[in-house]
Each structure stands twice: as structure tokens, then as C-alpha cells.
């Protein structure tokens, strides 16, 4: 356990290095950005700014300054938003976790069910239908699926709001607030959830088909166990282990998907923040986002490993 956590340290250090490199590759340094924001400045002004922010120091000193700032919770300042990057990200973190968490739950529930159904009817029309739909959803770009659902359920059939986080008026109680957020949540969650449900369907089907041919399943059949019990206890349980690994590996990709989906639905999360930061070339904010999302994925992977050790007693954490 301790060793597993220690293993995260070099990755997090590389993440810090990557964010720092990013800031340095970006056109213009902090001094130029500052001077630009205050309406330009001459070379002495720039030199003054550089020495004040330590930008005239050797690169490794600059990196140590940066690391010290990040570790003390200072991710820099976003001049475009006139806010600290930490505050910006903090305000957007919860909506993204709400969106990706719900989407993940939807994806796992639908994906495992559909995958199990397809595997149980392998080669028959049920399998072809489920696999076909999964392939079609998988091949659809997330933003296109989002736009399609938005037109269908927000415009043609005006059942759901087409974007945003919560209705701007008519909110009187906490319950109404929650209800409004839930309504706004449906379409983005369905969009993101459907994409990953398709991936999990394909994966669950493959993993279960591999287990169906194993001896212990044949034994269970020979004992005369009910088909549903064999599927749930003997096949699904074993297939869920590799699935958990895939879910952990997909954590970063779920955040990638959130960038497009949040932009389409104007969901005020990290993904939309990333889109805005790229549009405004706000590299301080982008570096902060790289650090935040990267750390998030590292932590999710840690949780997955812990879960794995709980579910499979043969696995011990190194």
C-alpha cells in the first residue's frame, strides 16, 4: 500500500515538469503577458517584471520556484479571467465530477448489462443488434451525438433544457435547485454515458466470451445451475475484474470526452474551462488544468487498484 502510493510520486513529479514545460513552450512569458495586459511597456519595464517574478533566473531555479508555488496551492493567475487559477478550477471541479461520475455510473450499468446480454446470445440476432448499436455509438463523435440529442430532446421535443447548469429563474428552494440541476444534467450525462456504455459493452462482451469457455463454467452447467446464476456468479464476476482495469485506464479519456460534451451543452465544468482557456490562449490556466486533471486521474487509478485488491483476494498491492 505504501509502496503503491510512493509509486505515484515520480508520476506526479513528471506531471509538474510537463506543466512547467508547457508554460515555457507557450509563446510569450508571464512578463510579456503582464505588460500586454497593462497596455504594453518598454524593455526596462519588462526586465523589471522578469526579475520580480524570477524569470531571469536559471531554468532549474524557475522550476523549483514553480514547484514550490504549486505545492503551496498557488497555480498562478489567470489574467483573462482576473482570478486565481486555483479559484477558477475549484469553482468548476464539482460540476465536472458530477457529470463524469454520473456518466460513468450510467455507462457501467448499461454497458455491463448490454455486454452480458450480447455474450449470452453470442452469434444470435440479439448479439448482432447490441454489437451493431454499440459500434454505431462508438463511431459517433461525442459532440455530434450531443448536438443530435440536443436537437431531438431540447428543440423538436422541448422536454429538457439545451444547456447550462441550472435555470436562471423560478428557483425558490433547495429542492427546486437540485431538480433543475438534474434536468440540465440529463442530456450531457446521456451523451457522455452512451459513448462509454458502447465501449464497456464491447469490452464486457469480449471478456465474458473468454470466460464462458473455461472449465469452472462448464462445471457449473454440469451441476445444473440456472443460467442466470451462472452468468451473474461465475461469468460476470470474473469478467468484472478486467472491466475495472479498463474503467481506470479510461478515466483520463472520460475527462477528454467531457471537454467536448461540456462545450456543446455549456456545462460549467473543467472541460468547458479548458475550451475557454484555449480560445483565450490562457496558458497559466491550461497548465493548471493539466495538473488538476492529471492528479485526478492518478488518484482514480489508485482507487481502482485498491478496489481490485478488495475484489480479487489473489491481488496484493505492491
Amino acid at each position: 500500500m505504501g509502496a503503491r502510493i510512493a509509486q505515484m510520486v515520480p508520476t506526479l513529479f513528471l506531471l509538474l515538469l510537463a506543466a512547467f514545460t508547457l508554460l515555457h513552450l507557450a509563446p510569450g512569458d508571464a512578463a510579456q503577458v503582464l505588460a500586454g495586459e497593462s497596455g504594453g511597456g518598454d524593455t526596462t519595464y519588462l526586465a523589471n517584471l522578469r526579475s520580480r517574478f524570477g524569470l531571469d533566473q536559471p531554468i532549474y531555479v524557475q522550476f523549483m520556484l514553480y514547484a514550490r508555488n504549486v505545492l503551496s496551492g498557488d497555480l498562478g493567475f489567470s489574467f483573462r479571467n482576473n482570478m486565481n487559477v486555483v479559484d477558477l478550477i475549484g469553482a468548476r471541479l464539482l460540476p465536472t465530477l458530477l457529470l463524469t461520475g454520473s456518466a460513468m455510473a450510467v455507462a457501467v450499468a448499461f454497458g455491463m448489462t448490454a455486454g452480458a446480454l450480447a455474450a449470452a446470445h453470442a452469434g444470435k440476432w440479439q448479439d448482432r443488434l447490441i454489437s451493431g448499436i454499440a459500434l454505431l455509438i462508438y463511431a459517433t463523435p461525442g459532440f455530434l451525438l450531443g448536438i443530435g440529442l440536443m436537437i431531438l430532446f431540447g428543440v423538436t421535443l422541448p422536454w429538457l433544457p439545451i444547456g447550462g447548469f441550472v435555470a436562471s429563474q423560478g428557483i425558490d428552494s433547495g429542492f427546486e435547485y437540485a431538480l433543475s440541476v438534474a434536468k440540465h444534467l440529463v442530456l450531457p450525462v446521456v451523451t457522455l454515458g452512451a459513448l462509454y456504455a458502447a465501449i464497456y459493452t464491447r469490452f464486457t462482451r469480449g471478456a465474458m466470451l473468454e470466460i464462458y469457455v473455461q472449465d469452472h463454467v462448464r462445471t457449473a452447467r454440469a451441476k445444473g445451475l440456472a443460467a442466470s446464476r451462472i452468468i451473474l456468479r461465475h461469468v460476470m464476476r470474473n469478467a468484472s475484474l478486467p472491466l475495472i482495469t479498463v474503467i481506470g485506464l479510461q478515466a483520463g479519456s472520460l475527462l477528454s470526452g467531457a471537454i467536448l460534451v461540456e462545450t456543446v451543452f455549456a456545462w460549467p465544468g473543467l472541460g468547458r474551462l479548458a475550451f475557454e482557456a484555449v480560445q483565450q490562449r490562457d496558458y497559466n490556466l491550461l497548465a493548471g488544468l493539466v495538473l488538476t486533471t492529471g492528479t485526478l486521474v492518478v488518484l482514480i487509478n489508485l482507487c481502482v487498484d485498491l478496489l481490485y485488491a478488495v475484489l480479487d483476494p489473489r491481488v496484493t498491492l505492491r
Binding site: T11, L14, Y138, A139, T140, G252, S256, G294
Partner: protein, 298 residues
Amino acid sequence: MTTDSERDELPTDISIRVPNIVLRIFRSWRKFPLSLHIGLLILLFQLAVALLANTLYPQDPFELVGMPFMAPGEDPLFPLGTDILGRDIAAGVVHGSRVSLLVGFAATLIATIVGTTIGLVSGYFGGWVDHALMRLTELFQVIPHFLFAIILVSIMGADLSNIILAIGLTSWSMVARLARAETLALRELDFVKISVVMGGGHLRAILTHVLPNALPPVIVSASILTALAVLTEAGLAFFGMSDSNHVSWGSMIGASRDALLTAPYMTLIPGAAIVVAVMGFSLIGDGLGQILRRGHRI
């Protein structure tokens, strides 16, 4: 006389060899799984469209050729209609297939070369080399790929080559893990060890013994990567990060965003092209994976 006999030998040699290869492909073609058949047909069709783009639509796809907002079928000259500015959508789709294929293949090539090299070196040598390279791979795994790609494109500029580079450089981690896992199993096998004992050197062992045997699963993952690269390119273009000198399916969708409700066909037609292309590559990946698991040789 000698020249005559050489001349006699050459054609027969070739005439025996060529039909053999054709026959072999044809024979194994019938044994391919259905998904591989459909996937390869889609790919062949897309290749043909991309190669014939200039013959089918010789004019610049960016040219304003008709009235804007013409629905498909409204004018027989423009079977798929025209977009916001009056550009021929059919010409855009046909020319866009070039960009999508180019980005898909080139980005996959970069990701596969980088990933395979890192995976092979990491798995073969083990120890601290493995440790260091795996932490690097982890870094490229934990930063969300799309975030990484949009940052790289925004720093380097939205040229076609930069887009390819950004997609390729952010998507190799999966290949590296796969190649490493294969190499870990292969390096323990006798023929690899013997090659080194015989004085062949590590490079020779890696290139002639480990690489060819580790390649099949890498090729399967390459077709999945190609599908993902096409999707990523579309996502970047939707964000306005596309090369303004080349029409692409994603940029066509991005350009029609304002007409989404009045003329959804402008979005749906290039969208359908993306879906078909990505399905093609995924089906190829599925089919190759099935063959690999079945363990029979092509």
C-alpha cells in the same frame, strides 16, 4: 543463349509468384470474419474516394459554387446540397476524406513507432530503464489526451502537420503498454536468449526476434488508434483547430454550427462520413483481433 534462358526464366518466375500471392489473399479473404470484410470494404471505398477526389471534383472545395442553404436534392448539380456560404457539400465530403485518412494513418504511424519503441526497450531491458520509461508512459496516460492535443495545437499552430503530430504524440501510451507486455513474455523465450548468447547483440534480438512476434497485437491496436485519431481530428476541427487550407469533415461541422437548427443536413452529412470511416477502422480492429485470438495465420 544465356540471356535467352534468363529471359525465359524471369517471366515464369513472376507469373508463378504473383498469382500465388493473389490466391493466398483470396483464399484467406474467404476465411476472414465478417467484421473484417465490412471494415476492409469501407476502407477500400474511402481510399478510392480519396484518390479520385481531384477527378470527381476538380474544383477547389472551398469555392462558392451555388446558392447557399440548398438542401440535398434541391438542385441535381449539388446532390448533397450547399453550405452556409454556397460551397458544394459533396465536394467537401470527398476532399475531406483525404484529410481524415491522412491524419488517421500518419498520427497512428507516429503513435505506433513511439509506443512500440518505448514498449520494446522498456520490456526488454527491465530495471531502471523500464521504471523510467513506464513513468513517462504513465504521464502521457494520466493527462487527458484531448486536453493535451488541444494545448499542443494551440502552441504549435493549427497546421495539418502539427495536428497530426499532436494526435500522434498524445496517443502512444496504450501501444507502449501493449508492446511492453508482449516483450516481457517474449524475452524469456529460448530463441531470444539464444540469439544473445550466440553473440547477436541486443539490438538484433529485439529487431529480429522480439519485434516481429510482438507486432500482431500492436497492429490490432493500430486500427483502433486510427479510429480514435479520426475522431480526435473531428473534435479539434469542431473547436476551430483545423488547417484552413484543407477541408475536413470536422471543420465542415464546425463551420455549420450557426445553421444547426435551420439546416441540420450540413452537420449530419459530414458527421455520417466520420461515423462510417470510424466504424470501418473499428471493424478492421475487431476482425484482426478475432483472427489473432483464433490463432490462425493469414
